[in-house]
């Protein structure tokens, strides 16, 4: 009898966990990180992560931070034109993405700045990156390292 109860409890936990997992998968689809890539760089250097951020949900949302073990410090940045053909970049806070729209993080625009890489990131490697949003659930993704896109 005890064995049967134990079996039933195990089955309930198993089924329960499974449905939670399925629910998480559905929630994370509300925000999509498409075509992510990070530029190759050597240990100690800085580099940048690029991707398309798609908000499929019914609500406006924003990317608030990015985490990874690959670098000492990670910030959301934007490259901007300065006078006389000069360029600069600055840290920007969160980046909002309206419901049903897509925001591109691309060279010469918004990027995720990886400051002081812990290890070499040669092309072909990948890094685990976690994206945090104000509404959607945080999402972790493997990001491939590339030298250049062309």
């Amino acid at each position: 009898m005890k064995k049967i109860i134990l079996l039933i409890i195990t089955a309930i936990i198993f089924v329960g966990c499974n449905s939670i997992e399925k629910k998480e998968a559905k929630i994370s689809k509300e925000i999509e990180i498409k075509n992510p890539w990070i530029r190759s760089a050597a240990a100690g250097m800085n580099t940048a992560l690029f991707f398309d951020l798609k908000n499929n949900s019914e609500a406006d949302d924003s990317l608030v931070s990015v985490e990874s073990d690959a670098a000492e410090l990670i910030q959301i940045h934007e490259t901007i034109k300065a006078p006389n053909g000069m360029m600069q970049m600055k840290e920007i806070g969160k980046v909002s993405v309206r419901k049903g729209t897509e925001m591109k993080f691309k060279p010469m625009g918004k990027h995720i700045m990886f400051i002081l890489l812990h290890e070499d990131l040669p092309a072909g490697d990948s890094v685990e990156v976690k994206f945090n949003f104000s509404k959607a659930k945080s999402m972790s993704q493997k990001v491939v390292v590339k030298d250049f896109t062309k």
Binding site: S40, G44, N46, D147
Partner: protein
């Protein structure tokens, strides 16, 4: 008849000069040399070390995550295209405006990780004052904009000119391009005409 000849001569003269004006002399390095260090810590006099060759020179700092990698990538594409065209009279130079951080060792790491072809491409660093005077005559500006300490290490980013310059075999700057958005076909065409 003589008048026609004269007119033709004048027309030819105007035409030759007009074409020549595609490449005005922006700066002449004739009496200037800058002793820089390459990635192997060897001293090289820029630009005279490449006298007789066309030089494609870009300005970078290795901590730059966005604009400078586009510049070096464009230089890489130009280098590949010229190799395909069998034009061997061109040298490439990437000059750091952050010599304090970009030591020869850092430049070696940069070359290794991005797999640059150093066959005819030299990465330069050097003494800050020497670099600054080279920037000045080249009209390239690099102003430290943000300094932060990350894990005890100083990280500086710059507001900087986005520049690739074309120098002829007589050490004269003949044309400037935006480094990150340069039209590759345009510079290849210019190199062939120079």
């Amino acid at each position: 008849m003589a008048a026609t000849k004269k007119i033709s001569a004048v027309l030819l003269f105007v035409l030759v000069n007009a074409c020549g004006n595609n490449f005005p002399v922006i700066h002449d390095f004739k009496n200037e040399d800058f002793t820089l260090l390459n990635a192997d810590s060897a001293e090289m006099n820029f630009p005279s070390v490449f006298k007789g060759k066309i030089i494609v020179a870009g300005f970078i700092f290795t901590n730059c995550p966005d604009i400078c990698p586009l510049t070096t990538n464009n230089m890489r594409i130009i280098q590949e295209k010229l190799k395909e065209l069998k034009m061997g009279n061109v040298e490439f130079a990437a000059i750091s405006f952050d010599p304090k951080h970009d030591t020869p060792k850092v430049l070696r790491d940069y070359i290794r990780i991005r797999k640059f072809d150093t066959d005819n491409w030299t990465f330069f660093t050097g003494n800050q004052q020497v670099i600054d005077s080279l920037l000045k005559v080249s009209e390239v500006f690099a102003i430290p904009s943000d300094t932060s300490f990350v894990a005890g290490e100083e990280k500086v980013t710059f507001i900087h000119t986005d520049r690739i310059m074309l120098i002829d075999g007589d050490l004269r700057i003949r044309k400037n391009y935006p480094g990150s958005t340069i039209n590759i076909d345009e510079i290849i065409d210019d190199i062939q005409k120079l």
